[in-house]
């Protein structure tokens, strides 16, 4: 009875997921570019702290993106596995 409505909502949710995943990639790329600029500028005028902070920032960004794309689907799959049958 609710199958067609559910399909419609799931289609919208899939589109929203693809949009947000794309947006995350764009934000991560922009952030990476910013950190590279920061690191290069730091290297150019001898700002070693600035460079090391930029390297740490890039590594952090990569970890966040990996977490979003690898760990989050696993968490979702786990939640899907817990999906209960009607208790009544």
């Amino acid at each position: 009875m609710f199958e067609p409505i559910m399909e419609q909502i799931l289609t919208i949710a899939r589109d929203a997921w693809a949009f947000m995943a794309g947006l995350l990639i764009v934000v991560a790329l922009l952030g990476g570019l910013y950190y590279i600029l920061q690191g290069t500028a730091g290297m150019a005028f001898g700002g070693s702290r600035m460079t090391s902070m930029a390297i740490i920032g890039v590594v952090g960004l990569v970890i966040i993106v990996l977490f979003a794309f690898l760990f989050l689907p696993q968490l979702g799959e786990m939640l899907k596995g817990f999906q209960p049958q009607p208790p009544f």
Partner: protein, 160 residues
């Protein structure tokens, strides 16, 4: 009466399955929305925003576990306390119908409360676990009241 009861319960069961499926989809969306906030906040250097998003992620997980593991257990426990067949005759049948419907509606209401909270979280808002718990508490209180009302109604209308 039993046919009406089974028809209504089938309708409620299908609604439960649909709501649970959509809940998982919105949990995925809420997760990636919060990860997007973490990513953009860490690039901007907004530490507070990062911690807010991480706590929102944990809240989403807790809400999902509560919805999928907690609510069915609560409903099962309360349904076993509902007096199904008080008396005999039509009153008994009405009691069975009412207890089934009360359990189904309360379960759906609790899942709906959790779903609404998840919907807000998927739009990047705060996932207020308190609202879901308050609404679940209201549904529980309603079930407890109903469990007292069924035998009272049977007594008032006359039992055999």
């Amino acid at each position: 009466m039993s046919e009406v009861s089974s028809l209504l319960l089938t309708f409620l069961r299908e609604a439960w399955i649909a709501l649970a499926g959509v809940f998982v989809a919105f949990a995925f969306l809420a997760g990636i929305a919060q990860m997007l906030r973490v990513g953009s906040a860490s690039v901007l250097g907004a530490n507070l925003w990062v911690w807010e998003s991480i706590s929102a992620l944990i809240s989403i997980m807790v809400l999902g576990l509560f919805a999928f593991l907690g609510i069915p257990q609560i409903v099962n426990a309360l349904q076993s306390t509902l007096p199904g067949a008080a008396g005999c005759g039509p009153i008994s049948e009405l009691g069975v119908l009412a207890s089934g419907l009360i359990g189904g509606l309360a379960a759906l209401r609790m899942l709906k409360a959790a779903f609404t909270t998840m919907l807000f979280a998927s739009m990047g808002g705060a996932s207020s676990l308190a609202n879901a718990l308050v609404e679940s508490g209201e549904a529980l209180f309603g079930m407890i009241l109903a469990s007292a009302a069924i035998p009272l109604a049977a007594w008032f209308l006359g039992t055999c």
